[in-house]
């Protein structure tokens, strides 16, 4: 391959672009065909050339730090388990002039209308199939063409509301479409994060440029979603859950746009009306922005094996009570083979050719096309006809997306045998865009994902995009799994651009009432509170154990052995420096938190992740005894970091009440159990000190009682003291204070058992003396907490 080295631009940072060699036969974003730098780039290149390598490095680090703080990462699948990697942002944005952009915009809006037309037909009159404009088998054999949706007219009047197109630039400089994303396109949220990070890297420059802003696009789309929902319903994002690669984006967009984030089990259908299960009972919902693949949405009428769907959801659509964005069944337009037919359909239904062509595609189900494909095979790439994967995409996980004959089989014979299962697409050389590598800019192939949203004013195109960049000069491997990177896209205007925000107008504000809390979210928050508290209890026990082990150096010492047997009773094996049980508890807390990431701060999530990481590191290094006791101290401080964030910073929403309820309930339960054992008159000497240590009350005890610990003083301080946050009665008071906030519109009968249970305990403990509180009564308090947990679950969390 010969390279064309463009003439060195004069007066620019010649070091940066030195040796920038555009692969032959490809267009380049930075330089035009004649080797001149495209004017849209000159200011930007001038700017970065004015920076030293160190300065640029510092700025890039700022951008990366932003992404880490925001919790943006991707999962890399290699070997057995996926690992989380830093977000692979290429810090140099792709710059496009507004004039080019207008042409792209016109082409994509035309294409969006075409796709809508086709969907209306194939789920309605089906004339495209009966007139041979779409081969019947491409629908009839297509798992994304959903038979139950045939005949259902979308409530909103449209199938498509949020679309993405993957576009690329031809060697001749023109743009074309590589793929249509109609199912549940991802990337708009990541594009926004790329913008935030990139604008931090070039912060001073960015504010001075005419780069079109993204917020207006999201604002208009959010307003449209709210309008679909109507005044009586929330608007929500329907996600497959934390198991999905794009879950981060679902959380991010839900938070950014103020939408509820729901999973299939949050919903139920009654008489054709979709309802959200909330702590306040069932609430109707009329609008779902669907981010899960359609076949999983309803196990009753679609994929019977789906565990993440809602039975009856198709019925809600049929009844006309639910708008879904995009309509179930829209994903069929991602089918690769359909690209062979869209240009002709455009001519017949729009009476005009496509403004932006799509990648040349031949379906091998017809003899004439097969003959052409066989003759031209060397210039074509093959794929499965019904694949929804994008050409060049290595992230979609559709291994069938690219196909080749088995070794030894003749290509022509293979094409004949595969016939209608096969599509051929032109091999194209994608344009290259500059990437900053080792102090210089180098060209790398790229595609851009562009997002469209249907609003009251028709299709809006996000003025920017999500660029995906290849790892090396080969154009056959885009995507992060293959080591590729992503970049922001700047649409640059010649004139100043408006500074967009999400807010409707300056100066005014509108307070949105808190939406009803989904029961599943409440359940996860409740258990998050419990697991975090339980982990803290375990850590305190382990610290007490290892301190004594270090002091006595004797596992047979009575108090050491007593602690060990108590730990074993909780399923914690003290001979493991970091017992599995502790890892499990923190894992359970993190798991709960991962399902409600839209409900608390990024800092809180980061603190929990940090705890998990520390635990993993300590597990391989710590030794029993002092070392381990110190390690427990470290973990305790990290855990307090999380608890502190929750206590000090979390808005007192209904969700906070459940988290706090879980935390207080668990603390009562832990303390009651510990006191039952460690204040037992039969317990070995020193156990009263253990109890005080577990209650973090060593100094308080010294100051308040002026005696060495005895059973009465310890019970007084740790069970009956209304001022000690470690004491049982203090936490029962806390539970009692939480009760008035809990009903959330439920009838009193439903939460009455809860108040009664708490009040009984409060009365009892409020009047009892330390010597009268027996071990058996302490055990009963633990049992009462189990009953309380069950009552809460019955009342709100089912």
């Amino acid at each position: 391959m010969s390279n064309v080295t463009p003439p060195m631009p004069t007066g620019l940072g010649s070091d940066l672009v030195k040796g920038y060699a555009v692969p032959s036969g490809a267009a380049d974003e930075l330089f035009d065909k004649s080797g001149q730098m495209r004017p849209v780039w000159t200011n930007f290149i001038n700017h970065i050339s004015s920076l030293s390598a160190d300065q640029l490095g510092v700025r890039i680090a700022h951008g990366d730090q932003y992404l880490r703080d925001a919790g943006v990462y991707f999962r890399r699948y290699s070997g057995t388990s996926p690992d989380e990697r830093d977000w692979p942002l290429s810090h140099i944005p792709v710059l496009l002039h507004d004039d080019d952009w207008q042409q792209i915009t016109r082409g994509l809006i035309q294409r969006a209308d075409l796709l809508e037309h086709v969907l209306t037909d194939i789920y309605g009159a089906q004339t495209l199939a009966s007139t041979g404009q779409i081969p019947a088998e491409l629908l009839a054999q297509n798992p994304e063409w959903l038979r139950p949706m045939v005949g259902i007219v979308p409530r909103s009047g449209y199938f498509l509301h949020h679309l993405a197109f993957e576009i690329g630039r031809n060697p001749d400089g023109s743009w074309f479409v590589l793929g249509d994303r109609t199912q549940a396109p991802s990337g708009a949220g990541f594009a926004l994060e790329n913008r935030r990070a990139t604008s931090r890297v070039f912060s001073d420059y960015f504010t001075r440029t005419n780069v079109r802003r993204l917020a207006g696009f999201f604002r208009d789309f959010r307003d449209t979603l709210r309008a679909h929902a109507g005044s009586s319903s929330d608007a929500a994002i329907l996600t497959p859950g934390p198991g999905t690669d794009t879950y981060f984006e679902h959380v991010y967009i839900a938070r950014y746009l103020g939408l509820m984030l729901l999973e299939g089990e949050d919903l139920t259908v009654q008489n054709g009306q979709a309802m959200v299960r909330t702590v306040s009972g069932l609430r109707p919902i009329n609008m779902l922005w669907r981010r899960l693949d359609a076949p999983f949405a309803d196990p009753l009428e679609l994929d019977e094996h789906s565990h993440i769907g809602t039975p009856g959801l198709v019925g809600a659509l049929r009844a006309g009570n639910l708008s879904m964005i995009n309509a179930l069944g829209s994903g069929v337009m991602e089918t690769r083979a359909l690209m062979a037919f869209l240009p002709r359909i455009a001519k017949s239904v729009l009476n005009t050719p496509l403004i932006l062509p799509n990648i040349a595609t031949w379906w091998c189900g017809h003899a004439a096309e097969r003959a052409y494909v066989k003759a031209q095979a060397g210039r074509l790439a093959f794929g499965s006809a019904l694949s929804t994967g994008l050409p060049y995409d290595r992230d979609s996980g559709t291994s069938a997306a690219n196909a080749a004959p088995p070794p030894g089989q003749d290509l022509a014979a293979w094409i004949d045998a595969q016939a209608g299962n096969l599509v051929a697409q032109q091999s194209v050389r994608l344009s290259t865009t500059p990437v900053y590598e080792n102090g210089r800019l180098v060209p790398r192939p790229m595609t851009i994902r562009v997002f469209l949203a249907r609003t009251d004013n028709g299709w809006q195109v996000m003025p920017g995009g999500y660029a995906r960049i290849g790892k090396n000069r080969e154009t056959t491997a885009l995507g992060m799994q293959g080591g590729g990177s992503v970049a922001d896209v700047w649409v640059v205007s010649d004139t100043p651009v408006p500074r967009e925000t999400l807010s409707p107008a300056k100066g005014s504000y509108q307070r949105v009432p808190e939406g009803a809390l989904p029961s599943r979210a409440a359940d996860n928050l409740f258990w998050l509170g419990r697991y975090v508290e339980r982990a803290e209890g375990t850590i305190r026990l382990l610290r007490a154990y290892h301190l004594r082990l270090a002091e006595t150096d004797d596992p047979e010492d009575p108090s050491v052995a007593y602690l060990a047997s108590y730990l074993l009773g909780w399923g914690v094996d003290p001979t493991q420096p970091i017992p599995e049980a502790l890892t499990t508890e923190i894992g359970a807390a993190t798991n709960c938190a991962s399902k409600v990431r839209d409900r608390f701060s990024v800092d809180g999530w980061t603190a929990l992740n940090d705890l998990t990481k520390s635990l993993g590191k300590l597990a391989v290094t710590v030794e029993p005894g002092d070392d381990c006791a110190r390690a427990m101290g470290v973990l305790l401080r990290k855990l307090s970091g999380f608890s502190g964030l929750v206590q000090d910073n979390m808005y007192r929403s209904s969700g906070w009440h459940f988290l706090e309820f879980g935390r207080a309930l668990e603390r009562v339960s832990e303390m009651a159990s510990a006191l039952a054992s460690f204040t037992d008159p039969d317990a070995p000497e020193g156990c009263l000190d253990v109890a005080i240590e577990l209650g973090d009350s060593v100094i308080t005890h010294q100051r308040r009682y002026l005696v060495d610990p005895n059973r009465q003083s310890v019970i007084d301080l740790l069970a009956l003291d209304r001022c000690n946050p470690r004491a049982i009665l203090f936490q029962i008071d806390t539970l009692h204070d939480l009760i008035p906030a809990l009903p959330f519109g439920r009838p009193a009968s439903q939460h009455a058992p809860l108040s009664e249970q708490i009040e009984q305990l409060q009365t009892k403990l409020g009047s009892i003396t330390p010597d009268a509180l027996s071990q058996a009564q302490l055990t009963d308090i633990g049992n009462a907490m189990a009953e309380l947990s069950a009552s809460l679950t019955t009342a709100y969390l089912n």
Partner: protein, 293 residues
């Protein structure tokens, strides 16, 4: 011939915990020229909180029911009177040559419910497999009429597969039933569908009823004490669809009453549904199909 049909499906869910929603496919079809539904009713006990009767994509009658509180037991009863008309046995000559089936299929450009296009590729529970496709090729030869091929595959399966009510369950994949050469009518049908599709012959699943007691002098058919299933295969534009019962090795006639057509069992299961249950469930089902004197 007229029949009185009675079907009782009974399910118990000892540990049911949540709401239930089901689709019921038990009502015989009204098919001009083949069978007439004279009367029919479905009773559900306990009374569901929701009930909706409608038609699915393939034109089958479907009843959707839902319960809002946990359900310990569910019983569905069908009472129907059906007239089944005698149809002449399909003739080989009416069907196209096997080699012509592909082009005839290409010429059938429609996605209407009974288009053969729906029935050629994998469906939720029936995918082709190399073993079953090889079986279909061994059993047929070029130059055969499509109907001959259907009969040959069906007869050989009937001969090689053992009817065994205890060997499989409703979720047994066809490749397993085929490998072990045993099963019930659902398995016979799924296996035959996979074989025919592998040979390029569109094939679908038919659920229905069989008359319980045979006419005098004829043997009792397998599958008469429960809901039955058989296969339909597309034999070209001339002959169209034929229905063949691989469990009993015959083309269906007056003894078979059609309930529903689908690509496989999953689309026409008598009781399809989602129930949150933490424990075992049990089901029983009784059928009586009596000819009217």
């Amino acid at each position: 011939m007229q029949y009185d049909i009675k079907l009782v499906l009974e399910n118990t869910y000892p540990d049911a915990t949540g709401v239930a929603r089901n689709l019921i496919h038990v009502m015989p079809l009204h098919k001009p020229g083949q069978q007439a539904l004279l009367s029919g009713s479905i009773t559900v006990s306990p009374r569901p909180d929701e009930r909706r009767d409608s038609c699915d994509f393939f034109g089958n009658t479907v009843t959707e029911i839902a319960f809002r509180s946990p359900l310990a037991a569910l019983s569905v009863t069908l009472s129907a009177r059906v007239e089944r008309f005698a149809v002449p046995e399909p003739q080989d000559a009416q069907s196209c040559l096997l080699e012509h089936l592909g082009p005839e299929l290409k010429a059938t450009q429609t996605v209407a419910p009974h288009s053969p296009q729906h029935f050629l590729s994998a469906s939720p529970r029936v995918a082709t497999s190399p073993a079953m496709t090889a079986f279909a090729f061994e059993t047929t030869r070029p130059g055969m009429r499509t109907l001959e091929a259907v009969r040959a595959v069906g007869q050989r399966l009937h001969k090689e597969m053992r009817f065994d009510a205890g060997a499989t369950d409703v979720d047994t994949p066809p490749e397993t039933a085929f490998a072990n050469r045993h099963g019930v009518c659902q398995d016979f049908s799924h296996v035959m569908i996979a074989c025919l599709r592998g040979r390029g012959i569109p094939a679908g699943y038919v659920s229905g009823f069989l008359r319980t007691s045979p006419p005098k002098g004829r043997p009792r058919l397998e599958g008469a004490d429960a809901m039955h299933a058989w296969v339909r295969a597309w034999c070209g534009t001339g002959l169209g669809w034929v229905e063949y019962d691989p469990t009993n090795d015959l083309f269906v006639a007056e003894d078979h009453i059609v309930v529903a057509y689908g690509r496989d069992y999953s689309e026409v299961a008598p009781l399809r549904g989602v129930l949150r249950t933490s424990g075992a469930q049990s089901s029983s089902h009784r059928v009586d199909v009596k000819p009217l004197a």
